[in-house]
Symmetry: C2
Subunit: 312 residues, 2 copies
Amino acid sequence: MDPAELTERLRAGDTRALARAITLVESGHRAAGAVLKAFRGGKKSKVVGLTGSPGSGKSTLTDRLIEEARKRGEQVAVLAVDPSSPFTGGAILGDRIRMMRHHQDAGVYIRSLASRGALGGLAGAAVGALALLEAFGFERIFVETVGVGQSEVDIARVADTTVLVLTPASGDAVQAFKAGVMEIADLFVVNKFDLPGGERVVQELKITLEIAPARPGGWKPPVLSVVATKGDGVAGLFEGLEAHHAHLIKHNLLEAHRLERARFQVESVIQEWGRRRTLAGKDLVALVAAGELTPEEAAGRLLKQTAHEPGF
Amino acid sequence: MDPAELTERLRAGDTRALARAITLVESGHRAAGAVLKAFRGGKKSKVVGLTGSPGSGKSTLTDRLIEEARKRGEQVAVLAVDPSSPFTGGAILGDRIRMMRHHQDAGVYIRSLASRGALGGLAGAAVGALALLEAFGFERIFVETVGVGQSEVDIARVADTTVLVLTPASGDAVQAFKAGVMEIADLFVVNKFDLPGGERVVQELKITLEIAPARPGGWKPPVLSVVATKGDGVAGLFEGLEAHHAHLIKHNLLEAHRLERARFQVESVIQEWGRRRTLAGKDLVALVAAGELTPEEAAGRLLKQTAHEPGF
C-alpha cells in the first residue's frame, strides 16, 4: 500500500490501516513521514501518560480508566510502550491480554510499541503513533510505560498529563525519587491502597511534594489512593485527570506542552542519528580513542559529512 | 592560564593544574579540547565504575577500596559523579567529606563532577576528566555514581570494570533489574551483608545471573558479599577487580572497551548538541508542532545549518 492509499484509508476510519501506519512509524519506514504529514488534524486528544514500577498495577488501572472514559462516551486509545530490555522484553504481552476484554469494543483501540527501528528511537516512535491516533479521532489516549528509567521519563514528556503509579511496597516512593520521576508527575496514585502501609506512603508523598518546586501555573500534584482491582477511587482519579487538563487550558499550557513534545521529537531524531553515525563512523572514533581528535571535532566531522548527504 | 601553560604544569605533576583542567572539561570551556589533546598518554589506568542506590554504602566501599589499592602501592583517583537532580543535588558532599581522610595522602586524588556545562553532558565530562586523570599517571581510577538511572548506566559504560553495589534491603535487586543495570555490571557486591536477608539476595542474584546472556569472553559476573564499614570481604572484591581486568586483557577486550568509550563520548557530544539546537530552534520546532515539517526534516535542517557554522 502506498502512502496516499494508506492515508485515504486512514481518513475513512479503517483501523487496519491505522495498525499498518503505526507499524511504519515503529519500524522507521521511509513512508512514515509522508503519512504523518498527510494524515493530521481533527480535534486534539487528551493524552495521559501512566508510569510506575512493574507490579504497581498500571495495566489494571489503565483498564479501569478505559471503562471510566467509555462511560463518558469517549473514544479511547491505549499505547503500551515497552523499551524491550533483554530482561523485561515481552512482559507487556500479559498486560495486553488483560486489556483484551476491551478489544470487543469498537470505541477502544489498544496497541503496543516495542521496536527501536524508528530514527527518533522508541520515544520518537511513540510521538509519531500518538499523532496518528490523534488524527484518527481518539478523544483520550493513555500512554502506558513499563519501568521507571530514563526512557520512561522521556516518554512521559509526550503526555499532557502524567500519572505516577506507586504502591505501599517499601521503597517504591524512594526509588521514584531517585529516578527523577517525582519531578515530572502531575498526579500521584497510590494503588493497592488496601495493603499495609498505604496511608504512610500517601503521607510521605504529600510531605515530599510540599518541598518540591512549584509547577507551571501553580499546579499542586494531588496524591490519590485507589484499589484498581476493585475499581475503588478510579472515578476520583479520572476527575483528577480532567482537573489537570482544565488547568493546562486555563493557564495556556497545553500549547507549550505541544511545542515541547515537538522539540523532544526533533531531539530524539538527532539522538538516534548520533547513535547510528557513531556506530558507523569507526575510523573517526578510533582517532578519538587515539587522542588525535577531540570528541567535539569528531562530532563536527560527522555532522558535516551527513549534511552533504542527500535525503537527510 | 593558557592551555599551553596548563599542559606544562600538568606534565610537571601539579595537582592544582589538574583540578583546573578538570574544571575546564566540566564547564565545557573551549580550552578543554586543546588541553585534552596536548596532555595525553602514559600508562593506561585501571578504571573501575561503582554504581548502586543511594544508601547502598558505595562511598564507604570506595573508601575501603582506596585503602586496598594504596596497600598495593597504586596511585589512586576517585571521580564522584553527581547528576545533580533538583532532589539529590548536593548529596555527594557528605560522601566526599567521608573520604576526606585520604586527602592527606598524596597518592590519592578525589574529585566530584556535578556540572552539565560540557557539550558532551555529564557523561562526556566524566570521560574527559578520566582522560586527564589517566594522563596524570593514576594507576587506578574509581568512578562513583549516585543512583541507578540511565545516566548512571551511561557513566558506567566509560569504566573498564563496573561494580553494582546492592544491599539486603528488599527490592534493591529488583529495582536494579528494572533500571537495566544488571546487564552492565561485571561484578555484583552485596554490601551490608550482615543485615537480615543478605544470603537471600546473594542467592537471588546468582539465580538471575544464570539465565542472563553470556558476557564477552564468557565472563561470569561473580556475586560477592562485603561489610564495607568493617572492611570484611574488601580484599576479595579487589581480587575480583583484578580478575576481571585480567579477563579483559586475555580476551583482547580492553581495546574494544576503549573504542566504545570514545564512541560514547562522540555520541554524548551529538546528544548535547541536539538538545541545545532544538532549544534554540524554536521556529523549526513550531513547524513540526503544526505538522508542516516532520521531525526528521527539522533535524536535517538543524544539521545543515550547523554544518555551515564555523567552529563546529
